[in-house]
Symmetry: C2
């Protein structure tokens, strides 16, 4: 599994991904799931990937035009005029990659699925920062004021706190903290999501990372968040009123 989450704030974008990949539970590895490209002063584009690793690595390699000699590479996502067109490109490439692999394995009924999904985030000069969720079928949706964040992979454990604590006007510092709490709840519940984490903060109109960091299990701040959150949750729970068993029992009231 995987957990990646991208969140749109007034100030920009905050993105976080785990790095665990697994084939069963006895074969786990660390792979980067967050990739970014930037043209200083002009654009920054980030992808986070979930799903079949061969599929997502293939998509990233094709986007970077690694089939060409390094001096001939001119990735088209760095030339697309809008983020919408970047999303369309990535979506088509993803769907095509999955389709090809699937076709050549159609004789293996019940065989592996090569599905994957992608969060695309970024900004091109003169336009707003944008956040997209791209499906294995190649189509995509865009974040809005009503739905300002996207998750892929193991999305459920980390969702309630984002829904409750998100605020479009929060600072980047608060945004990072929120994604750490969301990630911590997921790490605590699903073994197939694992440290280290990749963190990227994209400030509006900056076109290069404001802050980028790999967060290891030994990270002091993350440990403080993790233990602090357990404690804070227990205190939050204690702060609620107690149920009274002696109220009138009226099963159909």
């Amino acid at each position: 599994m995987t957990y990646c989450v991208g969140m749109m704030l007034e100030k920009g974008l905050v993105l976080m991904s785990d790095t665990r990949t697994n084939s069963g539970v006895d074969n786990i590895s660390v792979f980067r799931k967050m990739h970014h490209w930037s043209v200083p002063g002009e654009r920054i584009i980030t992808l986070m990937t979930a799903g079949n690793l061969a599929t997502t690595q293939s998509v990233i390699s094709l986007l970077e035009e690694r089939t060409k000699a390094p001096e001939d590479r001119e990735p088209s996502i760095l030339r697309a005029p809008t983020m919408f067109q970047v999303a369309t490109m990535v979506g088509n490439l993803l769907a095509e990659t999955i389709r090809k692999r699937q076709e050549s394995n159609d004789h293996m009924s019940g065989g592996p699925k090569f599905t994957a999904s992608i969060i695309l985030a970024g900004q091109i000069a003169g336009m707003e920062p944008r956040l997209f969720l791209i499906y294995p079928e190649g189509n995509f949706i865009e974040a809005s004021v009503d739905t300002p964040f996207f998750q892929i992979g193991e999305t459920k454990y980390g969702r309630p706190i984002i829904i409750r604590a998100y605020n479009r006007n929060m600072s980047f510092e608060e945004g990072v903290k929120l994604l750490m709490v969301s990630m911590d709840s997921t790490l605590a519940a699903n073994l197939s999501v694992g440290m280290p984490l990749d963190l990227l903060v994209i400030e509006r109109d900056r076109f290069e990372p404001l802050h980028e960091r790999r967060i290891h299990a030994s990270d002091k701040f993350f440990q403080d968040i993790s233990t602090g959150w357990s404690e804070a949750l227990r205190n939050a729970f204690q702060s609620l009123p107690s149920y009274n068993l002696d109220e009138i029992d009226d099963p159909e009231a």
Copy 2:
């Protein structure tokens, strides 16, 4: 979907279930998913069910021997000598019910699945209270000190708070509050889990419900928990230290 949760405390058992059943999102109904039987002074047995409604209703009806005239009914779960034997009976009946339905539909490839799972809780005089999770295949596992609660249906959203706030020595009042918070997180995230809720508290060595209640959406206490929990979560989040973007960026530190 469904959310049912059963929790073992030192004092006894606390059980909660929602009541929503759905076929798609445009056909929802209210059905009881919690059923209990007791022989005063001798035993109390509770089942909570998740999955295909026709399957679970059939299992309940067969357990109650509704195929017989009311005066001839003598449900064998009320005569089984141990909770383990009750679990075996319920498991066999569940697996058999699913198998029969599945067989008669095997010509419908890709047709509906009739799977279901059950939480069994109760106590028989002279023995400890017991809590089981019964799988569609008919086998089952029993709760222990290490894993003192079971969930069925939409289990993920409501799990983190139980893991963090559970304490075997908590009071029934705290236990009910904990399940309400867990249920509230689930209700907030999954439309196919819905009010009203059924609540049952089984005190050790009492052999009849200590407290039984249907909790409607208008329930004042549940509303207080629901709004209070949102607020408490936000406060808990605020209480954590803030991330510092200006720390040294060392991606591979």
